[in-house]
């Protein structure tokens, strides 16, 4: 092959001492620590028009962000919708997910909710109905509601945070769970603060 240039060979060259990790952060080469993965609840205030959901879900799949759940619904402004997205990512990934969302023109603002935010999920559970009294007892214990009861199955509704719902589902398991439908989180900040404001792009 021809081509090739003059100059000191690779092993003869001046070399830096440092190193970065796979996230591009400078590290002490001796102690390589990978960032922790955590769950974050992102609330996005978006334009309420066709295609926005596809755009956002496309963004998440294209950039390989892990979505745990995603809910969409109208807001007090008929031109706006709110999406509540639960992502699970290493720290830089959560920040990236937020910024990439904010970058979409149809996204008006994005906010990561504090752990103390009001968060609720609704779940419908269809369990075997052989022991209606026991099922009822558990439903009451978790503040649930019986929506439908037949000779063979009982369908109940539960709302709460993830922990409560997981516990309730564990308790129903003894009867045999036939089907589950979970909505994923809907969430708002606590107190007077609004969750996502018009005209505010929380870019940095």
């Amino acid at each position: 092959m021809s081509g090739g240039l003059e100059g000191p060979a690779p092993e003869e060259r001046m070399r830096p001492e440092g190193r970065r990790n796979s996230q591009g952060i400078r590290i002490d080469p001796e102690v390589e620590a990978e960032p922790n993965t955590r769950q974050a609840v992102l609330s996005a205030y978006v334009e309420h028009r066709p295609g926005v959901l596809a755009e956002i879900s496309g963004l998440f799949s294209r950039r390989q962000f892990n979505i745990e759940s995603l809910t969409v619904g109208p807001t007090v402004d008929e031109n706006r919708a709110r999406m509540t997205i639960v992502v699970e990512e290493p720290e830089p990934g959560i920040e990236q997910a937020k910024k990439q969302l904010e970058k979409l023109i149809s996204v008006i603002s994005v906010r990561e909710l504090e752990p103390d935010a009001v968060q609720r999920e609704l779940v419908l559970v269809k369990v075997n109905g052989e022991e209606p009294d026991k099922v009822q007892a558990i439903t009451e214990m978790y503040d649930g509601q019986t929506l439908d009861a037949g000779p063979r199955t009982i369908t109940v509704q539960l709302t709460g945070d993830e922990q409560k719902i997981d516990d309730a589902l564990d308790a129903y398991r003894q009867f045999g769970i036939r089907e589950i439908a979970r909505t994923g989180y809907a969430a708002l900040t606590r107190g007077e603060q609004t969750t996502a404001k018009e005209n505010v792009r929380t870019a940095d």
Partner: protein, 587 residues
């Protein structure tokens, strides 16, 4: 194309007060409103291909005096021409296509523009709204297909609003971080009646690109730069897009900080200046890669730290504190962690940092080191008598023959790297290439867009034989439009870059990389009505370049180069920039 519409017959003085000279008939249809919106935006040229669903828009252009439509051979060509027009002028280039295959043919060009943040607006026809979703003839979900490769896309749903949709799309392509946008135009909407006169193009109220960076971070960053011992500036395409070349130059000269560019940043800083180390990355210069690897502070401006630039992240500038200025917050710490994020407009932020500098770094030793690397790793090549013509020589001779503001476009492959390495760029918007997407076939349609954008400047396209074969039909456009451009095919009878990788990494197993037979490009050019030339020997180079340049119209020079020539330096994919190979045995 009729007489009146040739670009050369176009009056150049279109800077009259809005609406005065550009008088237009009142809006009667959605299509009229689209045309009116383009005029409000100051658009003069459109690149496109006709077709059923877009016919109403073309019809609205029929008697128009101000907008010139350039009919391209293929919609991909239209998108690349619009892209290059956008790069050269700084304003969004416009491309048009019909629904279905017209729209899907644009996709490569839009993806290319998206990766390189080039301002482009695409107008696509769509089947009438009532047929949408029924798999109608030439129906494609254009929004669905293009959303991932556009900055924003709009489905027009109302003749009264479609003009403003176009205005918004144009403004979004232009403002903030530039990029491609698209408006999908169902035929019933463009045919529908309206008398709505669209307003001036404007972005949505919720779109507010940042301007000034956070002052406390600016101060901290200036402190770091002033106290660094081995600083570099890394100038990306954002410097050019943000019109910040003057600020960059002033800053670098003032503090004597060596400047490295990315490939899209080429032209932001004069490569013939002492402080220039040219460009870093996979095939960047040895001295740029040495400096970027060993620096202790990096002021990176308008770059997204692409992997072809950084090599393996673990070994990228591992001793450097990174000051990263970008107008797009999502670029901060995406690939390389920014110690000092400066979110804002490049020109403004450079001035902010300048104002905050507490002193000047002591760089004498470092600058000397950088100069030494320049002598240690020269970009020299050999021209042995017993080997065929070297492509580098052709690039250098062309550069010597042409003025400094000559525009260079390229395909993708080895020839692109030689055009980058052996041409000395000194001005912004002279280097027009496909970086992020690496689109073979970009060069010729880009040369067409560039020449229409800058009719008074020379335009040369360095192409590979493989790249040229992908879009050579656009020669028909260059001939018809009488565009004085020169295509230099650095012909190695192979997709050379692939062949180089096969030799380096696949034990020389040359699968599908060599052309057993290839057309004669000078004759192909003549068949199109262009002038064809051929170069086989060194002593033909200068003379043929002179002849091709002298010919007033498109010409193609088929240069038979050494098929064995490879591109060096080279950093293997994901490798360590500081360990660039100077020849195959070092890979």
């Amino acid at each position: 194309m009729s007489e009146r519409a040739t670009p050369t017959s176009k009056p150049a003085d279109t800077d009259d007060a809005e609406g005065e000279k550009r008088d237009r008939k009142p809006v009667e249809t959605g299509a009229d409103s689209v045309v009116a919106a383009l005029k409000n935006a100051g658009v003069e040229y459109l690149f496109g291909v006709q077709g059923g669903a877009i016919m109403p828009v073309y019809d609205a252009l029929y008697e128009d005096e101000d907008l010139t439509h350039v009919t391209m051979a293929h919609e991909q060509g239209a998108a690349h021409a619009a892209d290059a027009f956008g790069i050269v002028t700084g304003d969004p280039g416009v491309c048009m296509a019909t629904s279905g295959p017209g729209a899907t043919n644009l996709v490569t060009g839009l993806a290319d523009a998206s990766m390189d943040s080039d301002p482009v607006i695409a107008l696509t026809g769509q089947v009438p709204t009532e047929f949408v979703g029924n798999d109608a003839f030439q129906e494609t979900d254009t929004i669905g297909v293009t959303a991932p490769v556009t900055k924003a896309s709009f489905f027009a749903s109302d003749p009264d609003v479609v003009g403003d949709d176009v205005g918004t799309a144009w403004a979004l392509a232009n403002e903030g971080r530039q990029g491609p946008t698209l408006v999908d135009l169902p035929k019933d909407v463009t045919q529908g009646e309206t008398d709505h006169e669209p307003g001036q193009p404007r972005t949505p109220d919720t779109y507010t690109p940042p301007e000034r960076a956070d002052e406390t971070v600016v101060e901290a960053a200036a402190e770091v730069l002033a106290n660094s011992e081995r600083p570099v500036i890394l100038a990306g395409g954002g410097v050019i897009k943000g019109e910040a070349s003057a600020e960059l130059r002033a800053f670098a000269y003032e503090y004597e900080i060596p400047v490295i560019t990315t490939m899209p940043g080429i032209g932001s800083f004069p490569e013939d200046h002492d402080l220039s180390l040219e460009w870093a990355g996979m095939h960047g210069t040895g001295y740029a890669n040495m400096a970027i690897t060993n620096c202790d502070a990096m002021f990176a401006i308008g770059t997204r730290f692409d992997d072809r630039l950084t090599g393996g992240i673990e070994s990228f500038a591992p001793d450097a504190e990174i000051i990263h200025c970008d107008i797009d917050p999502a670029e901060i710490s995406k690939n390389v962690h920014a110690d000092y994020p400066l979110i804002g407009d490049a020109a403004i932020v450079i001035e902010q940092v300048d104002a905050a500098m507490p002193g000047r770094p002591d760089v004498d030793e470092w600058c000397e080191q950088c100069q030494q690397w320049k002598t240690e790793y020269p970009m020299d090549y050999k021209t042995p008598d017993d080997e065929p013509l070297k492509p580098q020589y052709v690039v250098e001779k062309f550069d010597e023959a042409t003025p400094a503001d000559t525009i260079v476009t390229t395909g993708v492959g080895q020839h692109q790297m030689w055009a980058c390495q052996y041409w000395t760029y000194t001005e912004p918007r002279t280097w027009v290439s496909s970086h992020g997407l690496g689109t073979m076939g970009y060069g010729l349609p880009a040369a067409i867009g560039a020449k229409i954008a800058a009719p008074d400047r020379e335009v040369v396209c360095f192409d590979g034989d493989g790249s040229f074969l992908m879009t050579s039909q656009e020669l028909s456009v260059a001939v018809r439009e009488e565009l004085d451009i020169t295509v230099v095919v650095l012909n190695n009878e192979a997709v050379g870059m692939v062949r180089q990788w096969q030799d380096g990494f696949y034990e020389g197993r040359r699968m599908a990389s060599e052309y057993p037979w290839i057309p004669q490009f000078d004759m192909l050019a003549e068949a199109f009505g262009a002038r064809g030339f051929r170069i086989e020997e060194y002593d033909e180079v200068e003379e043929t370049i002179a002849e091709a340049r002298a010919y007033d119209g498109p010409s193609v020079i088929d240069v038979l180069i050494d098929p064995a020539e490879n591109v060096y330096p080279m950093v293997a994919s994901g490798g360590d920039n500081g360990l660039f190979a100077l020849s195959e045995d070092q890979l």
